[in-house]
């Protein structure tokens, strides 16, 4: 495969387009597309893939089996899309070997969908692409190719208008026009802070320098978020194309993708994509025969959340300890090795080719007044359909949780959702209807964050969750500055005390004082935002703190030190189930006699409680 000229790229796109179009309609050949993102593989997608291979072979069926990235239906992994001529494309969930056997037999051979595994709606309605339809709550711009194309095939990316934006930027637009377009689109950084992307680019473009850099932030440190992983795994070229566009615009020739080492598959897919792009002359010297040269390399993180912070990230790329430095000067002016550097988040990047390709007017028509476009969320926690979703800005939390997420697991009561991870705050029931954008989330003490959305139910204790977040921030603090290094630990210790029933009302005041000092005097965003979960939960769930402090009770029954399990004599029938399950063997009693728990040994694991069919065990 040789390097391509602009002409050749266009021809290739036309040819491949027909192929891809085929599969979007009902198709003429049999295709089985297996979702092989990390979580798909974790759920056994590779076995599923093999099973299909065997099944097709044994039935002598001529069909194609391919892979794709995240379809967004993570709760039903492994997921598989099946295309058979004459039938609507269908998505199957939880497809193991047995399911594969049935799908081949019933769906492919007998042309009857396998109801036990199939999603009700046709595939085209689930992977909604961008056909706008108010009944469908999702809109896929960033995830346009995820779960659709084979991420290991540059041709499939090209067929879906891939690299068309780059072409346009290289041959038809000036740098100022590109920046103008982004500005009109109103694109704001998806890494958390929501800074206008066009401004960053403009700063860097306007600085004189012999060298400039483009950096993609794929550190995705927010625990409970995986939008960026899925994008890199499912559509790596969109990031490469966007970075190259930025290179051309600001005058940089080298890009780096900083990605966490915990994402081996994403790393493979990106490396593979870089190789392909180089082969096609879409990276490297004289791209598409123009005078512009640009290349991209990967740099791996090594387990430090703070390295998502941009100055720490740059230090880490330079091979150093990831300790933030003060801004200003901002990286846009003085970044990697002291050179002007554009840093954007994966999701921000993935938006850009579409904005250039379809125009700013299209993009800015989506979203709210202040916040344009869509947002990808990793919807997890106590939610039925946990998964990767993309919604227009302005969607409400209620729509996300109930319409898309299918409501709370086990029919429990919604308590709160946390966005922004350890930097964010809780969104409570009363705010379920506020439209999501940067400003409104901030106004209620939360933040957009990078896209982790964790749903909590009545069994989750707010003190416990806050303690969890603080533990995270303490563990991940780089230790450079006193407010964060010492303040964070002090907050954690106070929360720990409260969760053990040893807190006092003064502790609440201290938390507030500490939060103020950390917010104002910490050097970087980690320390500045670490107290957010504290302030937010104290604000909305003060009574829960008070219950721990005054009544020494954990209303959610989560804080183990405030919890005991006891057997109600009248209800116990002596079935011994609890004694058998107790991991520390602290339940005694003869068969058919009342059992008893030795409180001094009990580790409060709750297994007996779950096991007792007679509701004879009391938790409280």
């Amino acid at each position: 495969m040789a390097k391509k000229t602009r002409e050749e790229l266009r021809n290739l796109r036309e040819v491949k387009k027909t192929g891809i179009a085929q599969r979007n309609s009902s198709g003429e050949s049999i295709r089985i597309i297996v979702g092989t993102g990390t979580c798909g593989i974790a759920a056994g997608a590779m076995n599923t893939l093999d099973a299909f291979q065997d099944e097709l072979e044994s039935h002598g069926i001529n069909g194609e089996i391919t892979q794709t990235g995240c379809m967004g239906l993570c709760f039903s992994e492994p997921t598989v899309e099946v295309a058979v001529p004459g039938m609507p494309n269908t998505i199957y969930g939880n497809v193991d070997g047995k399911a594969a056997h049935r799908i081949v037999k019933e769906h492919i051979i007998n042309k009857v969908a396998v109801g036990d595994y199939a999603f009700e709606k046709p595939a085209a309605d689930i992977i909604t692409d961008e056909t706008d339809d108010t009944t469908k709550k999702q809109k896929r711009i960033v995830l346009r190719n995820c779960g659709v194309i084979n991420p290991e095939s540059i041709d499939e990316y090209i067929a879906r208008d891939g690299y068309a934006a780059l072409e346009k930027v290289i041959f038809e637009m000036t740098a100022d026009e590109v920046i103008e377009e982004l500005s009109n689109a109103g694109l704001r950084g998806r890494g958390g802070a929501g800074f206008p992307t066009s401004l960053k680019w403009k700063f860097t473009k306007n600085v004189e320098s012999d060298q400039k850099f483009i950096v993609c932030n794929a550190d995705e440190g927010d625990p409970g978020a995986y939008m960026d992983r899925s994008t890199c795994e499912g559509d790596p070229h969109s990031v490469l194309e966007a970075m190259t566009i930025a290179g051309k615009t600001v005058g940089a020739n080298q890009g780096y993708i900083y990605i966490r080492a915990e994402y081996p598959l994403a790393i493979d897919r990106l490396n593979n994509a870089i190789d392909q792009a180089r082969e096609y002359g879409l990276l490297g010297k004289k791209i598409l025969g123009s005078d512009f040269s640009f290349d991209i390399e990967l740099r791996l993180g090594a387990g430090a959340f703070v390295c998502g912070e941009e100055t720490a990230l740059l230090a880490s790329i330079e091979g150093k300890r990831g300790m933030p430095i003060p801004r200003p000067p901002f990286p846009a002016v003085k970044g990697l090795w002291g050179k002007p550097t554009v840093i954007n988040n994966v999701e921000t990047w993935a938006n850009i080719p579409m904005i250039i390709h379809k125009g700013s007017a299209w993009f800015s028509s989506i979203g709210t007044e202040t916040t344009k476009g869509t947002k990808v969320f990793a919807l997890t926690g106590k939610i039925n359909n946990s998964g990767l979703i993309e919604v227009p800005m302005g969607t409400t939390l209620r729509e996300i949780i109930y319409d898309i997420g299918g409501g709370i697991k086990g029919g429990k009561k919604f308590k709160a959702a946390q966005t922004g991870g350890p930097s964010g705050g809780v969104i409570t029931e009363e705010f379920l209807d506020i439209p999501i954008d940067y400003e409104s989330l901030q106004s209620i003490g939360s933040m957009m964050g990078s896209g982790g959305m964790i749903v909590m139910d009545e069994d989750d204790c707010m003190v416990d969750v806050t303690k969890f977040y603080l533990e995270f921030s303490v563990d991940e603090s780089c230790g450079k500055c006193a407010p964060c290094r010492i303040g964070g630990r002090t907050c954690y210790n106070i929360l720990d005390k409260i969760s053990k029933g040893q807190g006092s009302l003064e502790d609440l005041d201290q938390l507030k004082v500490l939060a103020q000092a950390m917010r104002k005097a910490s050097l970087c965003g980690l320390g500045q935002t670490a107290p957010n979960p504290i302030m937010s939960t104290i604000n909305y769930f003060e009574e829960e703190y008070l219950a721990h402090i005054n009544n020494k009770k954990c209303p959610a029954g989560k804080c183990k030190d405030l919890l005991s399990y006891t057997i109600v004599e009248d209800l116990c029938v002596g079935c011994t189930a609890c004694a058998r399950v107790c991991p520390v063997n602290c339940i005694s009693g003869e068969v058919k006699e009342v059992h008893a728990i030795d409180q001094s040994q009990c580790i409060k694991c709750g297994q007996c409680f779950d096991k007792c069919k007679f509701d004879a065990i009391l938790k409280g």
């Binding site: 563990d475 210790n493 500490l514 103020q516 000092a517 050097l523």
Partner: protein, 582 residues
């Protein structure tokens, strides 16, 4: 340079672009408290004590690390800012042992001062002072991690100023420590004992190893004849401990104080500096005349020799074998002086007062440090330790009369005194080398080219038509460039860039030594330097070869410079010391 106009607390300010808020505030009489910032270093911006409000910024900004911008409106003090600073300070104190009474920095500690200024009476937060053992492995400095406030200064000093990388941040979060890497002790680390970390530490977390008790014991011991010497740089800095301006020359008072402390004989290292010049100057002349190898490199700074033995052993042959003045005086006291005074050298205790922590290491660094048959120097204490002894003895230093030092190892020339500053050894050597080569004295003894704070100073000196190329480097980190230049020329077989090189490990030379009173900045170094040059200018004799006591010692005892006796007593050797030998 373009000027920036902005506003601090409503006061109009106009400062050059790039000025920090901290410095700009100083200009209008506003002091912003700070802890981690030090003038010598790039702002590390760690502590968060110096935060200020800047209009338009939601968080507070660090005054030490933020340059003023046009039209910027800064508020340095209002109840909210002060409250935040106080909380940060209380947090720092909550992890600090707060045992000022057992601390070498009490009365002179940046954290203690802050605490006093903020009027801290209680620490509301849970106390969590870590218990970590001290590192006492080197003869020079002690690391007490319990007191460390993680300001990062020592690491920046050791790595960026000194290029040694003995210390590094280890671990992260609230487990961060400042320590040698790979779990070795400081002694096993690349540390060159310069003590610059201790001079820059704002608190009592790194300090000189205290040898004053041993000195007191010797003074008290009936059967000891206790001899003391003071180094050039001590006299212009000791006053700082007693309220004098830096740079005040207090030689006479120091002699008196030493006498009152109970020392039996008081000598001056400056005398030995003159002796060093004769030996080293002769060595240079000999090598320059064709014996080689060149360049000749000065060796009177033990941190520098340590650095070379560790990082540049390919330069061993280039080092002057002449001992440092401290050691020369030591060996001469236990030989020549003992003989003249009829004292059994076994009963002599030799104490040196140095601006330097490294001198504590030098006194046992090799076999040649025992050339008298005894350990030539028994104890080396720093300027800081001497000041403490003076205070402990109840001596009212400012009230002391001047006095003279004792004869035969005391009288010195201006050349001896300038050893205390960067370029001084070179200048002193040139004054005498000129004479040794031409048999004529210089009319103009000052060599401006080797003076000043430039990290590396180079010059070509005309010695009656012969060109001598010289380089002077100070602050260890500046040396590598010179070494590399020579290596490069060697590799390519080109003519050497220099014939003679002076190196001092500390910024500004010994006046900026690791054992000097705390708080040195370039301003203070400049004042101390001025003091040294004034001492030189006031001297009647300004060249070492004019020192009559030096002449006498050669006549009566040593014979020829570089002669056999001189060689036995006054010269040493170097050996390669691989890093991390554990």
């Amino acid at each position: 340079m373009s000027m920036i106009k902005c506003e601090i607390n409503g006061l109009p300010v106009s400062v050059p672009a790039g000025t920090t808020i901290l410095d700009a505030a100083k200009g209008v009489g506003v002091t912003i408290p700070k802890l981690c910032y030090h003038n010598d270093l790039d702002a590390w911006a760690a502590c968060g004590i110096c935060v200020v409000k800047v209009e338009g910024s939601p968080k507070m900004l660090r005054a030490c690390a933020t340059a003023v911008g046009p039209g910027m409106k800064v508020v340095t003090h209002d109840p909210e800012v002060v409250e935040v600073r106080r909380t940060v300070l209380e947090l720092i104190l909550s992890t600090h042992p707060n045992d000022c009474l057992q601390c070498g920095r009490s009365g002179n500690c940046e954290l203690q001062d802050l605490s006093a200024d903020f009027g801290i009476r209680d620490i509301p937060f849970e106390k969590r002072a870590p218990e970590i053992p001290r590192d006492t492995s080197t003869p020079s400095i002690v690391l007490n991690p319990e007191k460390c406030v993680k300001c990062g200064r020592c690491v920046l000093v050791c790595q960026e100023m000194q290029n040694v990388y003995a210390l590094e941040f280890i671990g992260r979060g609230d487990g961060t420590r400042l320590a040698p890497a790979a779990d070795v002790t400081l002694e096993e680390s690349p540390c060159i004992k310069c003590g610059q970390c201790s001079a820059h530490c704002p608190v009592g977390a790194i300090y000189e190893k205290d040898d004053t008790k041993a000195v007191w014991d010797s003074i008290k011991a009936e059967d000891k004849h206790v001899v003391v010497q003071i180094a050039p740089a001590v006299r212009v800095a000791i006053g700082e401990a007693f309220g004098y301006e830096p740079g005040e020359i207090l030689t006479g008072k120091t002699y008196t104080a030493l006498r009152r402390l109970g020392f039996d004989a008081i000598f001056d290292t400056n005398w030995a500096a003159d002796l060093t010049i004769i030996e080293e100057g002769s060595e240079f002349v000999k090598r320059f005349a064709g014996d080689g190898p060149l360049p000749l490199i000065t060796s009177c700074c033990p941190s520098w020799t340590d650095y070379m033995e560790k990082f540049a052993p390919d330069f061993i042959d280039n080092f002057s074998s002449a001992k440092s003045p401290q050691e020369m005086l030591g060996v001469m006291s236990k030989t020549y002086y003992a003989e003249k005074a009829g004292i059994d050298p076994a009963t002599i205790t030799m104490v040196s007062v140095m601006p330097c922590t490294s001198k504590k290491y030098e006194i046992t660094r090799s076999d040649e440090m025992f050339a008298s048959g005894y350990q030539d120097i028994d104890y080396s204490i720093t300027t800081r330790e001497l000041a403490r002894m003076i205070k402990q003895a109840g001596i009212d230093f400012p009230a002391l009369p001047d006095s003279e030092c004792d004869s035969i190892l005391g009288q010195y020339t201006g050349a001896g005194t300038i050893f205390g500053v960067t370029g001084g050894v070179m200048e002193a050597a040139l004054r005498s080398a000129y004479y040794l080569i031409t048999k004529e004295d210089l009319e103009q003894v000052e060599f401006e080219a080797v003076r000043g704070m430039e990290g590396v100073k180079t010059a070509e000196i005309d010695v009656k038509g012969t060109k001598v190329r010289i380089a002077v480097a100070h602050q260890m980190g500046n040396v590598q460039a010179v070494i590399d230049q020579v290596r490069e020329a060697r590799k390519k077989g080109e003519e050497l860039p220099y014939h003679f090189i002076e190196v001092m490990a500390c910024r500004g030379g010994c006046i900026g030594g690791g054992g000097q009173p705390h708080g040195a900045t370039d301003e203070i170094r400049a004042l101390r330097t001025r003091g040294i040059y004034t001492d030189d200018e006031k001297s009647k004799l300004r060249c070492s070869h004019h020192n009559p006591e030096i002449k006498r010692v050669y006549d009566e005892y040593l014979g020829e410079p570089l002669g056999q006796k001189a060689h036995e007593l006054l010269h040493t050797a170097y050996t390669e010391r691989p890093l991390y030998k554990k």
